[in-house]
């Protein structure tokens, strides 16, 4: 299968998500964790970019990190999948490889 790219930096502060999206081939998965989850919320200046990326990628976001930051599934852009820690592990096993964009 394809590669899973994890992104843990805020898209408002760092370019990790941009770099990941630029290098992720069609079919690759993107998993937003830690401060990377700020890219998952609707109504921000980066949400259009994330929605556009859904054409070529499955995008996941880690629920515990969403809740810690005062957000819920309702704030998450439609089409993104919220996963828990067990789901994180499942993704790591489902994809061939994992690349962490720090």
């Amino acid at each position: 299968m394809a590669m899973l790219h994890t992104v843990n930096k805020s898209p408002f502060e760092r370019r990790a998500l941009d770099s990941a999206l630029r290098h992720a081939v069609k079919g690759a998965g993107i998993l937003l964790i830690e401060d990377g989850v700020y890219a998952a919320f609707d109504g921000t200046v980066v949400s259009a970019k994330v929605k556009a990326a859904l054409t070529d990628h499955k995008i996941y976001v880690l629920g515990p990190d969403v809740n810690a930051r005062g957000m819920t599934e309702k704030n998450v852009i439609d089409g993104l999948e919220v996963v828990d820690y067990g789901g994180f592990v499942d993704l790591v096993t489902e994809y061939d490889k994992v690349q962490a964009w720090l």
Partner: protein, 133 residues
Amino acid sequence: MAEPEPWEDDEPQGPVRKFMYVNRRAPYGTIYALESLEVVLIAAAFEQDVTLVFMDDGVYQIKKEQNTDAIGVKNFSPTYRALEGYDVEKLYVEKESLESRGLTTDDLIVPVQVIDKDQVAELMEEQEVILSF
């Protein structure tokens, strides 16, 4: 009139300076937000003139309804509500930062004044000490 307690004695008060704390980081990915809060409380204990500004990702520090149960980190956001008790009441949020993140003051855990970037700049000019986190 009661006698002053020993700890209320005539110890001279130092000068009061205008301190501004500029909070620009999200709350849990790094330690900056928590460290800033600790230092704000120290300045407040010394009865300094304290102003807080939340801008860039710092606006996320005061997002309502943070629930850190599942990440194993203490939720320190209720502490911002205690600042009033330390006479820290000058809390400002930069309008542009709030809007670019799709947030409004209804999303925030404490009452704040929303000011634009030019007003933030003016406020900075008025300070004697600016600490950035």
